[in-house]
Amino acid sequence: MATHALRWSIVGCIGVMLCVGTGCTRSIELKPSSAELQPVESHSLANNERVPLVMDSFHLLRNGAPQNPSAEVERRILNKVQETRLFSTLIPLGAKPDSLGEKIVSARVTLDETIEPHSWLSAFKGIVLGGSMFLLSPFVDFEYDYAAKVGLELERWDGQVKRYEGISSGTVQYKLFGATPVMIDELKGHVTEACLTELTAQLVRDTTLYMASSAPVSNPGIRSVTVRAQRPSTTLPTRLTVPATTPPLP
């Protein structure tokens, strides 16, 4: 009798451990996967070849709706750009640098996020799980999708503009008891990192474009303005200017 009870206790324990183990799992799938991303090779530029990078604007869109961008995200993007060692200084939005010299690169960043939490499907699965007294928990997967597109537009001191773009997406698959707000942060973190890695890889390929010696400074104080006389319309009567008085000859 004791042996019988012991056997069933062991079977029961293994069953509970399997259910708990499989019911608490979660995984993150990235596209492109982190293995496909090449690490950014930073070029060692001489200090006098590096120019400052100044953040000009930062726009954040979430599912197409404009959002208030956070300084944390901006800092993360700047940190990633800093890793390329292409620029001497990175100036965030709103900062007032002392003197940057004549050669600076202006950066305009857009972050377009797409979030698909599959809410209705999750709600339906929740009802099914509740109805099963949670017995189906190890067998029902929940999903949460996140995609991001980071655009970086750099304008060189001479007015040349170049645009870079990093795109990535990911899905976190989780069981009911494995759900935690941290997993969403993890997913967003991985996707953003993949975007920025792709972006900086493109940026590094253009290293020579942002070297101080790559282009002379265009003097912004002198601007040539072409003014043309308005050609009189044929439909309107032309005005003839006639001097009213003729100066007397000496």
């Binding site: 939490p117 809410s119 999750s122 699965k125 929740g126 509740g130 007294m133 009911l176 759900a179």
Partner: protein, 200 residues
């Protein structure tokens, strides 16, 4: 049962006293997918005799510890914007009439919380599951001790801090044995309740 009421009251008073007043001005709670909620709710049950065959005037206190997990981000863009949570609840009832008896049950619970009002969040909930009571077999409405409990109700959560909320509401309780034994008239009751939830 008095000691349970004392524990609940003491816990709630302690929580109120330990919540910094400054935090009351914090913004709305940020509840996302995976946010968990543990709560303790207590109330008092008043019987409803819906037919002439119902004679038992059962009443007594109820204590309901619960756990929930948020399944969705807010759904919708209007006043009905809300989130769905799934969880489980233990139900303990003490019947003081017609006999001092007890009941305990376990119910999966689903809840829709309206989030449009910020810190004040109304909700609707539904729960159902197995329920055991030694009142069964001693009254004409229920033949056996193993039953099921079904509850549905509405309530409101008031977030003192982004992590702590007080809840109050009303539930309708139905206890019956799903036809596993006869008679099976069922016990019906109203259950006004109050409690608190902690979110993490």
């Amino acid at each position: 049962m008095t000691w349970i009421a004392h524990i609940v009251t003491t816990t709630m008073v302690c929580l109120i006293m330990t919540v910094p007043i400054a935090q009351a001005d914090d913004g709305s709670p940020t509840i996302t997918v995976g946010t968990q909620e543990v709560g303790l709710t207590a109330g008092y049950m008043f019987s409803h005799r819906l037919t002439d065959l119902h004679t038992t005037k059962q009443h007594g206190p109820a204590v309901m510890p619960s756990w929930m997990i948020t399944l969705t981000d807010p759904i919708g863009d209007s006043w009905y914007r809300g989130q769905i949570s799934l969880g489980a609840e233990m139900v303990y009832l003490e019947f003081r009439e017609p006999l001092v008896t007890h009941g305990i049950g376990f119910t999966p619970r689903i809840k829709y919380t309206f989030v449009a009002l910020g810190r004040v969040r109304p909700y609707a909930e539904f729960a159902g599951g197995p329920f055991w009571t030694d009142l069964g077999g001693r009254i004409r409405e229920e033949a056996n001790e193993f039953n099921f409990v079904l509850t549905g109700g509405v309530g409101v959560s008031w977030f003192i801090t982004p992590q702590l909320a007080f809840n109050a509401g009303y539930r309708f309780h139905h206890i019956s044995n799903a036809g596993t034994a006869y008679p099976n008239l069922g016990l019906n009751a109203s259950l006004p309740f109050g409690g608190f939830s902690f979110y993490f």
